[in-house]
């Protein structure tokens, strides 16, 4: 990776608190390349129009671009366009499945399984569903390294299990879960599996057919597209069996007071005027990362992770939280008994953006018996020089705080 890639991200070239910005909060949201920024700009400057209905030129152009984006996403994860639903983000994808699939197919006494290290978005919708239906939420425990304990998962599975929902990669610790094995075991008891791909899509190739997941959700803004757009993938036969999530325009075939018939997939789950430029930006982002190549991105990020792990451990008193064997380029850490927030403020003073807190994973923090961590998360535009500068800044902050 080189300067030509960084040149594609205008936001990276600025001074924050007197220092060049070092952006290490990519797990929260990624920055946008010119290809994405220009796609949004072009939409509003050249062909802003409502899609799927207008017969005029602009509407046709907008519809074509929006649907091309759907195709780009479908090809990217090896699905068909009918299985690609535009949603607001991973959170909405989970809520959609919990509501539309859950309300129809979950009954009292059924069980839903999540892991102990899920994001709140992958816990709360299932809790709400369980409460409504009298179902039970079961939790896969984790070990101290931040890996799910697979034998315990196998013990939780039974004919009562109806849904398993798990992140591909933990946002808090970066652990990569063995989702393919999780999925095949769940299928043995007849459960469907939702994969929270929010942290996976920016870092690695995800092939829904290879994984054989039933649902997959991810957020555009974490994968270099604009905010407010995301994807729910679902196997066609499951999406067909589900009721719509929201009623309104676009999702109908015909409406009368005698009864309404719903539109075909994927429009059945896309009520209202969609986030058109968001969808287009996601298509542009997918094309952009495919131009660079996900294999190349993953290899470079592995190199960054190895480097940052080595360099961070040179800081006195620093301990890494989450030492799974299989990790993405996310590093959670603590220094002695310094509160993460103090470190975050003093890094910000030196132009470095990290995340501090519980990372929307309070059950995980309870399990690890900590209040929170500092988290540095990397994208392919980050550099080893930035890691060196961060190590220097951390040492300076730690000295002041100890």
């Amino acid at each position: 990776m080189n300067d030509s890639i960084r040149a594609q991200f205008p936001i990276l070239h600025q001074i924050v608190n007197g220092k060049p910005l070092i952006y290490l909060d990519n797990a929260a949201t990624s920055q946008k390349p010119l290809a994405v920024i220009n796609a949004i700009k072009d939409y509003y400057e050249q062909y802003n129009s409502n899609i799927h209905r207008g017969a005029h030129h602009l509407a046709q152009l907008a519809t074509e671009k929006y649907e091309n984006a759907r195709t780009a996403v479908a090809q990217h994860i090896n699905a068909s366009e009918r299985e690609i639903n535009f949603v607001r983000g991973t959170t909405e994808a989970i809520n959609l499945v919990a509501t539309s699939y859950g309300r129809k197919f979950i009954n009292a006494g059924d069980e839903i399984i999540v892991s102990e290290m899920e994001h709140h978005s992958n816990i709360v919708p299932w809790q709400m569903l369980c409460e409504e239906k009298g179902a039970t939420l079961r939790v896969i425990p984790i070990n101290d390294a931040g890996e799910i304990i697979f034998e315990d998962y196998l013990k939780l599975l039974s004919e009562k299990t109806k849904i398993v929902s798990i992140a591909y990669i933990s946002n808090a610790l970066g652990s990569i879960h063995p989702v393919k094995e999780v999925i095949s075991e769940a299928h043995k008891v007849g459960a469907v599996v939702f994969i929270d791909g929010a942290q996976a899509l920016p870092h690695k190739k995800v092939d829904v057919k290879d994984l054989d997941c039933d649902f997959l959700g991810f957020s555009g803004h974490k994968v270099f597209a604009g905010t407010g757009i995301g994807i729910l993938y679902g196997k066609e036969k499951l999406l067909e069996a589900m009721n719509p999530y929201m009623g309104g325009g676009e999702m109908i075939k015909s409406v009368s007071f005698a009864g309404t018939t719903y539109n075909d997939l994927p429009y059945k789950f896309e009520a209202g005027t969609p986030h058109i430029e968001g969808g287009i930006s996601l298509g542009a982002a997918i094309n952009y990362i495919n131009e660079i190549g996900l294999d190349k991105i993953a290899a470079y990020e592995d190199e960054l992770l190895a480097y940052v792990t080595e360099k961070f451990l040179e800081v006195d008193g620093l301990r890494i939280v989450g030492t799974a064997k299989n990790k993405a380029s996310v590093i959670s850490f603590l220094i002695n008994d310094i509160h993460p927030y103090d470190l975050g403020v003093l890094l910000n003073e030196q132009g470095i953006a990290i995340r501090t807190g519980h990372h929307c994973c309070q059950p995980l923090m309870d399990r690890l018996k900590i209040e929170g961590t500092c988290r540095a998360s990397f994208a392919f535009y980050n550099t080893k020089e930035e890691i060196d500068a961060t190590v220097y800044a951390l040492k300076r902050a730690a000295k002041i705080l100890s």
């Binding site: 509160h339 003093l346 910000n348 003073e349 807190g357 300076r396």
Partner: protein
């Protein structure tokens, strides 16, 4: 003789004027926090927690000889320094003065702009909580006729 809120604020502003570097300012704030007397454990409960901060801040107030006193603690070093500054300015003052004097030292030492918005909200929460205590004590002081000034 107890110094006025404005006098203490000016003192603090002068102390911070000595630093050019923001990191040095933070180091000074952290040192101030370290010198804050420990808060009695019985006040470090949720009842005394200031809402709206990412870090935890416990605040206790009491009245003695007609003056209002504050004691506080925090689980983070920087916030502890900030609350220590607020205690230094507002503790030992008349409740009415705490309530009605606008605080200017935060802007003077250029703290607010260099703290995240969330932290800044936390700062606002701390000040509001101190003023709420003052309002309660001010009622006891029977200065109710001055309240319309708040509008």
């Amino acid at each position: 003789m107890q110094k006025s809120i404005a006098e203490i604020e000016n003192e603090i502003a002068e102390e911070f004027d000595l630093f050019d570097d923001q990191m040095d300012k933070y180091e000074y704030i952290i040192d101030i926090g370290k010198k804050l007397p420990a808060l009695d454990a019985k006040y470090m409960t949720d009842d005394f927690l200031v809402k709206g901060c990412q870090s935890k801040v416990w605040l206790h107030a009491y009245e003695k000889h007609g003056l209002l006193y504050f004691e506080a603690d925090s689980n983070t070093a920087i916030t502890k320094g900030i609350i220590a500054l607020l205690v230094r300015v507002l503790s030992g003052q008349k409740g009415g003065d705490v309530l009605l004097t606008p605080l200017t030292f935060i802007d003077k030492i250029n703290l607010r702009t260099h703290l995240s918005s969330q932290r800044s909200n936390g700062l606002t929460s701390m000040i509001q909580k101190m003023k709420a205590y003052a309002a309660a004590f001010a009622c006891v002081e029977q200065i109710l006729p001055t309240f319309p000034k708040l509008k």
